[in-house]
C-alpha cells in the first residue's frame, strides 16, 4: 500500500479480508485503503459483498481471515461499540429510530455516554448549525420526513467526533434535492478531516462526490479508480464484469412476430412504506416463446412488480394486465395459475416455499387447485398426499437431491430447493412464466440447469418474464431487455442491440436518451 505520501497516509487499511457464510464466500481476500479526509466510494452490484465488508469494519461481523490496520496499528474490531470508540461511525440504510421519542431522546439512546437531555439539545443545535443539518432536537422523530430522519442518524454519528463515517446507500431514501444537500454536508465533513466511506451502486453519485472508488464484484476487489479520470461507462463495466457470455444470445425479430401472450399497461402502484418503491406507469408485453428480461438492481421495484404480476397485489383495474385477451389484473394467484400462468418469486424460504413443510406439502401449495376434485366438498377434502406422485416426478425430472424421499423444504440446499420450485411450475406446462432471480444464491450446476430449462420452455412457445439483477443471466437468456430503475421501466429493446454497458448505465440511473442511441422501434408496443 502507498504509505509514502506525506499528508495522505491511510486512515484505515484492510489486508486480505475474507468472510464466508457456509459455502458462500461473501468477501474474498479484499484489500482496501482509505485516506484521511477522503470521500471514498465502495461500488458494486447487490450481492457484491459491500455490506459484508462494512459490517466487519463496524464490528457487526468479524472476518474469517485478514487484518484491519487503523492509523498504522493492527486492530481487531470486536463490536460496534469498539468501532465507535476508535472513531468509526456508520449510518445504516434502514434507520433505527423510535418514532414516538424526540430527536434528542433518540440520540441520547444511541450515545455510549449520553449527557443530560438539556446539554444534549444544546450540542445538537450547535452541531446542526455547524454542519448545515437543520433539525429541531425537541421534535418527535415520527413527524420528520425520511430525509430529516437521516439527518438525525448523521448527527448522532457526528456527535461522537468520528474519524471515519460509513454511509450505506444513503440516497436510496432521498429525493434528488435532499441528496444534493447531503453531498454538501459530506464534502464539508471531508474538508474538516473526517473520511467518508460512501457505499453505492449509483454511478452518477460516485462520479459527482467521491475522489476514489473501490469496486467490488463477486466478493473480490476488482480495482480502484479515480472517478474524475474515469467514466461511468468504465465503472459500469467493472461493476458488472466484462466477460458476459454471449453464446446463447437470442436473435430478436423472429420472436416478436409471434402473438402477444401477456401485456401490462400503465400499471402504477404507490409505495406501501418509506422503504418500498412506487411503480410508475409500467407497460410492456410478452410474446409467445419470448424471454423478456427485466434487469435492474434490486430495491428498484422488483418486489412490487413481482407481486403485481403474481396476483399477491391486485391491480386497481382488471385490464391493466391482460393474458391472451383476458383481463386478469384482479385475478388471485390461484385464478392466474388456473390459466396456466406460473410464477417463481425471488425468495425461496417462506415465499415460494414453506420451509417447515415437506416437499409434498409444498407441491400441494401451488397444485391444490389441479389435484382436488370438482365441487366445493371435494375441494375442501383436498390434502397434500394427493401430490405424492407429482412430487416424485419433480424430484426425478429435475435432479433434486434430497436426504430422503419427502424432506422438509429447509433440509434442501438453496440450489436443490430452487430446482424443486422451478420443477413444480414446469410440470404444469405453463403458457406464461414469471421468474424472479431464479439463480440467486444457487450453485453453478443448478443455475445452468435452471437457465437451460427456461430456454427450453421458451422454445415450446411459453412466454417468460425474467426479473433479474444478474446481467450475465439477462443477456444469455433474454430476447428483449427492459430495465427497472426507481419504479420506472425502460422500453424493452431487442437484446441483440444492447451491450452490457448500456444496461449497466440504465441500472445505475443514467439518462437513457444520452447513453443509448439505438432505435427503440422493436420494443415499443404495436
Amino acid at each position: 500500500m502507498a504509505q509514502t505520501k506525506t499528508d495522505k497516509s491511510p486512515l484505515l487499511e484492510a489486508h486480505g479480508i475474507t468472510k464466508s457464510f457456509g459455502d458462500f464466500i461473501a468477501n474474498d481476500a479484499v484489500n482496501f485503503a482509505i485516506e484521511k479526509g477522503a470521500i471514498h466510494a465502495l461500488l458494486g452490484e447487490n450481492g457484491a459483498g459491500k455490506s459484508t465488508f462494512v459490517k466487519m469494519l463496524y464490528g457487526v461481523l468479524s472476518p474469517d481471515q485478514g487484518q484491519f490496520i487503523w492509523d498504522g496499528q493492527a486492530v481487531s474490531i470486536t463490536s460496534p461499540k469498539a468501532a465507535r470508540a476508535m472513531g468509526i461511525a456508520m449510518v445504516f440504510q434502514h434507520f433505527s429510530l423510535f418514532p414516538a421519542l424526540s430527536v434528542a431522546e433518540n440520540i441520547a439512546l444511541a450515545l455510549d455516554d449520553a449527557p443530560s437531555l438539556n446539554d444534549l439539545s444544546g450540542r445538537i443545535r450547535e452541531a446542526s448549525s455547524r454542519w448545515g443539518l437543520a433539525i429541531d432536537p425537541d421534535r418527535p422523530v415520527g413527524d420528520l420526513s425520511v430525509g430529516e430522519q437521516q439527518r438525525v442518524e448523521i448527527l448522532r454519528c457526528l456527535l461522537q467526533d468520528p474519524k471515519l463515517l460509513i454511509m450505506d446507500e444513503p440516497t436510496s431514501v432521498l429525493t434528488p434535492q435532499e441528496s444534493e444537500r447531503l453531498f454538501d454536508v459530506l464534502r464539508l465533513l471531508a474538508k474538516e478531516g473526517c473520511a467518508v466511506l460512501y457505499i453505492s451502486h449509483k454511478l452518477d453519485e460516485v462520479m459527482a462526490l467521491t475522489s476514489k472508488a473501490t469496486i467490488l464484484r463477486g466478493g473480490k476487489n476488482v480495482g480502484e479508480v479515480t472517478p474524475a479520470k474515469s467514466s461511468t461507462r468504465a465503472m459500469a463495466e467493472m461493476m458488472v464484469g466484462k466477460e458476459v457470455d454471449w453464446i446463447e444470445r437470442q436473435t430478436s425479430g423472429a420472436k416478436t412476430k409471434a402473438p402477444v401472450v401477456f401485456a401490462v399497461s400503465d400499471l402504477s402502484r404507490p409505495a406501501d412504506s418509506a422503504f418500498a418503491t412506487a411503480l410508475n406507469a409500467i407497460s410492456f408485453d410478452v410474446h409467445e416463446g419470448e424471454i423478456l428480461g427485466i434487469a435492474g438492481i434490486s430495491g428498484n421495484g422488483q418486489d412490487e412488480l413481482t407481486e403485481a404480476l403474481t396476483g399477491e397485489w391486485l391491480c386497481p383495474r382488471s385490464d391493466q394486465i391482460r393474458f391472451q385477451d383476458q383481463a386478469i389484473g384482479r385475478f388471485t394467484p390461484q385464478a392466474r395459475r388456473r390459466l396456466a400462468i406460473e410464477m417463481v418469486p425471488e425468495e425461496r424460504n417462506g415465499h415460494a416455499a414453506v420451509t417447515e413443510m415437506t416437499l409434498v406439502e409444498n407441491t400441494f401449495l401451488t397444485h391444490f387447485d389441479r389435484v382436488t376434485g370438482e365441487g366445493w366438498l371435494n375441494t375442501m377434502r383436498g390434502h397434500p398426499a394427493l401430490c405424492e406422485d407429482t412430487t416424485a416426478s419433480i424430484i426425478k425430472d429435475h435432479d433434486v437431491r434430497t436426504p430422503h424421499h419427502n424432506p422438509m423444504a429447509r433440509q434442501l440446499s438453496g440450489g436443490n430447493l430452487q430446482k424443486f420450485i422451478m420443477g413444480r411450475s414446469l410440470i404444469t406446462a405453463p403458457r406464461l412464466m414469471i421468474v424472479a432471480q431464479p439463480t440467486w444464491g444457487v450453485d453453478v450446476g443448478a443455475a445452468t440447469m435452471i437457465r437451460r430449462n427456461l430456454l427450453a420452455l421458451a422454445a415450446q412457445g411459453c412466454g417468460i418474464i425474467l426479473i433479474s439483477q444478474d446481467l450475465e443471466e439477462i443477456f444469455s437468456l433474454s430476447t428483449r431487455i427492459a430495465v427497472l430503475n426507481a419504479g420506472h421501466l425502460s422500453p424493452p429493446q431487442a437484446a441483440i442491440d444492447l451491450t452490457a454497458e448500456d444496461v449497466g448505465l440504465l441500472m445505475g440511473g443514467a439518462q437513457s436518451s444520452s447513453s443509448l442511441q439505438h432505435p427503440a422501434s422493436e420494443g415499443e408496443r404495436a
Binding site: M56, S62, P63, Q67, F68, S76, I77, T78, S79, T310, G311, E312, T332, P333, Q334, A335, R337, M343, P345, E347, G350, H351, A352, A353, V354, T355, E356, M357, E361, F364, L365, T366, F368, T372, T379, M380, R381, G382, H383, P384, A385, Q411
Partner: protein, 361 residues
C-alpha cells in the same frame, strides 16, 4: 451469550425420552421443595401422581375434568397454528354455557330429545359469535386479538353474573343467584361402563372429547382449510402466494375455536351442574391454552396433554385436602412440571449453544 439453534435431525429417541426426563426432573425438584417446606416428600408426590390414578372412579373423575380442557384446546390449536392468539376461550366457554342454559330454560316442561342437540347448536353459535367480535375487530380495524379476546372474557363473566342474578334467576332459589334446574331432556346423563356400572361423574359428554380429537386432526391434516391454516401460520407470504386469504383464515379459526369453547361450556353445565350459576368455568378456558401448547399444537396430542393437566389439577386438590399443603405450593409444583415438559419439548428441536463473540484476527 446463550443461543437456541435448531437441531437438523431431531432424534426420535429424544422425543420418547423427553417426557420421562421431564417428569423425573419434576419429581426430584418437587421432592426437594416439599422437603424444604417441611412436608413428607413421598406422600406429597403420591398425592400428585399416584392418587388420581389409584382407583377407577378417580380415573373417571380425571377424564371428566379433562373433557372441557380437551374440547377447548382442540379449537385453540387451530388458532395458534394460524398465528391467531385467541386467549379468550374462557369467555367463549361462558357464552356457550349461558346461551344453551337460557335456551333450555325456555322449555321447562319439554321432554323432546331434540332439546339437547338444539342446545349444542345454540352453544356453539354463541361461542363463535363471542369470538366473532374479536375476528371483526382484527380484520376490519387491525385490533390486537389478544387484548380483545382477553377483555371479552371479563365481559362474559360479568354478563353471566347479571343474567343469573337478574332475568334468569329462579324465583324459588331463596335469593341465591341460581337459575332453575334444566329440564331432564337438557341434561347429559352419566355413562355406565359395561360390567362396572357408574363410575364417579363419568358422563356421555366425555365421548365428545375423544371423538372430536381425531376429527380435528383430520381437519388439520387432511383438508384444504387445515392446510391453509398451517401455511398461513408458518409462512404468511407463501400463503398469499398460494392464493389463500389470511382474512378468511383469521375469521375461520376464531369462529371454530369459539364454537368449540362454547360446546365445552354447554357440556360442562349440562353434565355436571344442571343449572346456571355465576361461576361455571373455574378457568378452563385459560388452562386449555397450556393444554394446546403442551400438545405441541397437535390435535391428537391434546388428549394426552388434557389428561396430564387434569391430573396435575386433581393431584393439587388431593394434596391440599390430604396433607394441607397450601394452594400456592401446589401451584408452584404444577408450574415446575409445565416448565420441564415445555423445556423438554423445546430442547428436542433446539440445542443450546454458548456463543462467544470471536475476536477478529
Amino acid at each position: 451469550m446463550i443461543k437456541l439453534t435448531p437441531r437438523t435431525n431431531p432424534s426420535p429417541w429424544l422425543s420418547l425420552l423427553s417426557p420421562v426426563i421431564a417428569i423425573a426432573a419434576t419429581l426430584i425438584i418437587g421432592a426437594l421443595i416439599f422437603t424444604v417446606l417441611g412436608y413428607n416428600a413421598g406422600e406429597s408426590l403420591y398425592q400428585f401422581f399416584i392418587s388420581p390414578l389409584s382407583r377407577l372412579d378417580r380415573i373417571s373423575d380425571l377424564v371428566v375434568k379433562a373433557c372441557p380442557l380437551i374440547i377447548i384446546a382442540l379449537g385453540l390449536v387451530f388458532c395458534y397454528r394460524a398465528n391467531i392468539w385467541n386467549i379468550g376461550a374462557e369467555g367463549q366457554f361462558i357464552l356457550g354455557a349461558l346461551a344453551a342454559g337460557a335456551f333450555a330454560l325456555q322449555f321447562p316442561d319439554t321432554t323432546s330429545p331434540l332439546l339437547l342437540p338444539m342446545m349444542i347448536l345454540v352453544a356453539m353459535a354463541a361461542g363463535a359469535a363471542w369470538a366473532a367480535i374479536a375476528a371483526i375487530c382484527k380484520t376490519l380495524f387491525n385490533a390486537n386479538e389478544i387484548l380483545v379476546t382477553l377483555m371479552l372474557s371479563y365481559v362474559a363473566a360479568l354478563l353471566i353474573d347479571v343474567m343469573v342474578r337478574g332475568p334468569l334467576r329462579d324465583p324459588m332459589a331463596f335469593g341465591f343467584p341460581l337459575t332453575p334446574m334444566y329440564p331432564d331432556a337438557g341434561l347429559i346423563s352419566r355413562m355406565p361402563i359395561p360390567g362396572v356400572g357408574y363410575l364417579g361423574q363419568l358422563h356421555y359428554g366425555v365421548l365428545a372429547a375423544f371423538i372430536l380429537a381425531p376429527i380435528a386432526w383430520w381437519l388439520m391434516h387432511r383438508t384444504l382449510p387445515g392446510f391453509q391454516v398451517r401455511v398461513i401460520g408458518s409462512a404468511p407470504r407463501a400463503g398469499r402466494f398460494a392464493g389463500f386469504s389470511s382474512v378468511r383464515t383469521t375469521i375461520g379459526v376464531l369462529l371454530f375455536s369459539g364454537a368449540m369453547a362454547g360446546l365445552a361450556g354447554m357440556i360442562e353445565v349440562s353434565a355436571n351442574i344442571g343449572q346456571l350459576q355465576p361461576n361455571v368455568s373455574f378457568g378452563y378456558g385459560f388452562t386449555a391454552i397450556i393444554v394446546a401448547f403442551l400438545a405441541r399444537l397437535n390435535p391428537l396430542g391434546v388428549i394426552a396433554a388434557g389428561l396430564l393437566i387434569a391430573m396435575a389439577e386433581l393431584g393439587g386438590d388431593n394434596a391440599q385436602i390430604a396433607l394441607g399443603i397450601p394452594k400456592v405450593v401446589t401451584g408452584l409444583f404444577k408450574g415446575i412440571l409445565l416448565f420441564f415438559l415445555l423445556a423438554g419439548a423445546t430442547l428436542q428441536h433446539y440445542k443450546i449453544e454458548w456463543t462467544t463473540r470471536k475476536a477478529g484476527s
